[in-house]
Assembly symmetry: C2
Homo-oligomer: 523 residues x 2
């Protein structure tokens, strides 16, 4: 388990990784018009929390400690970071629960149901969509699963493990490593997010193709609901009715609390190869990526950086760059890499094959990738407005979407901030029938107005995605921030069905109300 | 659309493919103790149907024609065929509806909801689990989607097509072929089943690995429910809440009527290669298949025949045979086949690589495969008891399951029939974490007692599957015949959620009651 001692209460990840002030100032040079020094980080001990409104029985592992409440007030969206930096903790939970095992989860839900207390499951707290922050009127408890962090059982024959939901990425991999196995699910939040969070939000992981979401890696799940505990059978495949797991995957804590899952594992890869290709323009690059995605070659990495993104990460001087990677635990992969680079060349790519499995563009990209959230926080302290949003659409609309987002979100940035901003893009995952573009927006904010400005940019982004039929989220989940876009996208009969399912499992409506579905009036 | 003129009303497929009497007699030699001549096939015009209890408005495309009602009375399970051969049509639908378009489906559901008439969606009618046969007390209509058989739209760029649910396999492929595209979903029932049926039952298809079920080939779905029409967005991937499509996939007509779907297509394969390998015993063969399934090589075919199955299909003299096939539209596949056969050899396999893409074991198998249901019907006419059932479990239990099923179902056959029967097995689909064994049982029945004997064998099979945690169905669906096993397997909270979803979408409870969920008392 990642030590919580060094976890930042206001920003991303570890406090010792946060950008020093001088680096914040240097970064701010990227966007003209920002203040000349970063906003100070308040001492959490100085901040005022509203009085706690809950009184759980002493037998339950619930605390009203202010530091715990502050650390569970928000996720890690830009708007969360800015609100925390401003010292606004009005919406903090009334208490934080730290169940020591599944029976505590059952007891907590029983108590909360009787007491009319809202329960919001909390894994690593890395939500960037308002997924762990209740915004209603009832008293609420943040249910932190962090103590349920064990790999409980390993089936080497079937390559699967039973893992508790509160296990963070590094802890989970550390427990699998002695068995020469790996889950190989590496979202950007890997260090600071948990298996349960990945499952509840349908997280996107390591693989750029094929098993892009964690959904496919699930063999069975165990979920505590107010109406009882659901455990699906361990099955490699089944056709017995609608998949129970697929209802809980992406349910974001509204139907139950995921406590453990049997996960499909991989052998650790023995051979890896990577290459990068530069393209004259995005049209050629997109055609190459589409050809690769439709060739059923399933590269582990297939990440297209647009000119702005490539320049920022140092991967190219301003041309689109495609980073390709293949890996296998069973067979050599050089032949497969050659098949991929042949396709890139056939579409105008200039290919650089990495020496000895290392590739400078890929390396440059990876270190930038893991640093990005800290940079975001440093920029937030400089009052820059930073937003990342991701989507997916079918290939027939990919180029139009790319152009429309850059144009319309760029226009929104100009209108909101009065200046040009950056709107960069990379494709994080690709499919035979489409791609998942991920956009980064950086603009000059005005101190005190950052959240309102961010909200306006977000609204413009959601509007163009919805108009072009692109999903409101490919792997960041819905939470509360994406509700308008999600409501537009979701078929109304499915909303009815989901409400019906929720009413059956959570009749008191205590589970993460406001996420996915509107909060119903209290009974 | 497959011509209905030649469709058998009592048995599988086309009447012109049914086994002649002398072939039935010859086949019966396989099982000692059967009668010396086949039961006659009754003339459907001689059979008595109960009076129809419905009177839909003349504007609706509903018929009470006896031949139509007889042809929609049952699916094509063994027990269906035997009951039809015995002339028992007491449970036939009161009427058959043939909607001409989606608006007819809407109008039919509106009328049925008001009139309290049960509606059972009917695609090709090839259900082998009692999926299209209402067994309750209310009047009912079989809703035959066969006229909705068009490919409506093709997106060549994204390789996807919008296809109506009533399209049979051959008609669907014929409409895609001019575009050099294929769905490549080839269940055994391919000729006699429809896209809508495949989706409603999560059918298993062509691919032995990776995209084993049709689920993964779905881009979006359109479903008419009594509460409105649900249409999901066309997306290559999404993380926006639980997947709407995954709730309707496998819903077997209980939540709505699937009218069309955008399906992900493939380029037609340009290179194919196949091989077969014989093994000294099932332990070695299973180890080889597991190694292949866990190597992420994704062969299109990976079908293991046990000694009995291999002997019956002429693929070997009595050793386990593994049939391997690879295919690609983009790259040569010989290297991939070699990787697979290397793994087979490493586990004791004796490999025969097919010349010029043709393999005699594979060919022998394929023709036997498509003939099997006709053989089953011929055997049924000879009063043999024939059952096929399929399952899936994780690798740690595969050998135990194989042995236990053969032993316990074999014992049940002896007890029920007083003689030895055949219990053969093949693995139809394999996964990194497990396999999907498919069993065929053939035993000597007693004329007049076949259905009761079949039910006893089925019960024994379901019992051993459930005890060992193997799914009650990998791709045949639940229907009514698999309900006890399904109820045991399904987590109770998921059953509550599904009932909640159904109550929201089908408040009058008219949609295929008894499948997946118990029929609720009429309002």
């Amino acid at each position: 388990m990642t030590s919580t001692a060094t976890r930042s209460w206001w920003g991303w990840g570890s406090t010792d990784q946060a950008l020093p002030d001088e680096e914040c100032v240097a970064l701010a040079g990227m966007v003209p018009g920002l203040p000349d020094r970063p906003r100070a980080v308040p001492d959490v001990r100085d901040l005022v929390l509203p009085p706690s409104r809950v009184g759980p029985p002493p037998s339950l592992p619930v605390t009203t400690d202010p530091a715990a409440r502050a650390a569970h007030a928000y996720g890690k969206a830009y708007r969360d970071v800015v609100r925390a930096l401003s010292g606004d903790l009005r919406g903090a939970p009334d208490a934080v629960a730290h169940p020591r095992g599944e029976s505590d989860v059952v007891d907590l839900l029983d108590w909360a149901g009787d007491a009319g207390v809202v329960v919001v499951p909390f894994g690593g707290g890395s939500s960037v969509v308002g997924g762990v922050e209740y915004r209603g009127e009832r008293p609420w408890v943040s249910l932190d699963l962090g103590a349920l962090d064990q790999v409980l059982e390993i089936d080497r024959t079937s390559r699967a493990a039973r893992i508790q939901a509160g296990a963070f990425g590094p802890a989970l991999e550390a427990q699998l490593r002695p068995h020469d196995l790996t889950l190989r699910h590496f979202p950007q939040s890997f260090e600071f997010s948990t298996l349960g969070g990945w499952l509840a939000t349908r997280a996107g992981g390591h693989y750029a193709t094929l098993h892009t979401h964690i959904d496919d890696l699930v063999e069975s799940m165990r979920v505590v609901t107010p109406a009882g505990t659901s455990e699906s059978w361990r099955l490699p495949g089944s056709g017995a009715g609608p998949s129970p797991d697929r209802l809980f995957l992406g349910s974001e804590g509204t139907l139950g609390v995921i406590t453990e899952a049997w996960m499909r594992l991989q052998d650790r890869p023995r051979s890896k190869a990577s290459a990068s290709a530069t393209f004259p323009d995005m049209t050629a690059a997109i055609a190459a990526v589409r050809a690769i995605a439709q060739a059923a070659l399933h590269p582990a990495n297939c990440r297209l950086l647009d000119p702005g993104e490539a320049a920022l990460s140092g991967a190219s001087g301003g041309q689109p760059v495609l980073v390709l990677g293949v890996e296998s635990a069973a067979v050599p992969v050089e032949g497969r890499l050659a098949e991929l680079t042949d396709l890139a060349r056939a579409h105008g790519g200039v290919v650089a094959v990495a020496d000895g499995g290392r590739d400078s563009a890929a390396d440059a990209w990876r270190s930038t990738f893991l640093r990005m959230p800290y940079v975001r926080d440093g920029m937030a302290r400089m009052s820059a407005v930073v937003e990342t949003f991701e989507t997916a659409c079918t290939w027939d609309r990919v180029e139009e979407l790319y152009a429309a987002v850059r144009s319309e979100v760029g226009a929104a940035v100009r209108e909101v901030t009065g200046a040009e901003g950056l709107v960069n893009c990379r494709f994080t995952h690709v499919y035979p029938d489409g791609a998942a573009p991920y956009f980064t927006v950086v603009a000059a904010g005005r101190p005190g107005s950052e959240v309102a400005m961010w909200d306006d940019v977000k609204t413009a982004a959601s509007e163009v995605l919805g108009r072009l039929g692109a999903t409101i989220t490919h792997h960041h989940a819905v939470g509360r921030d994406h509700r308008p876009g999600y409501d537009r996208q979701r078929p109304e009969p499915f909303a009815l069905a989901l409400r019906g399912a929720k009413a059956a499992l959570d009749p008191a409506g205590i589970l993460n109300p406001g996420v996915l579905l509107d909060e119903l009036p209290a009974r």
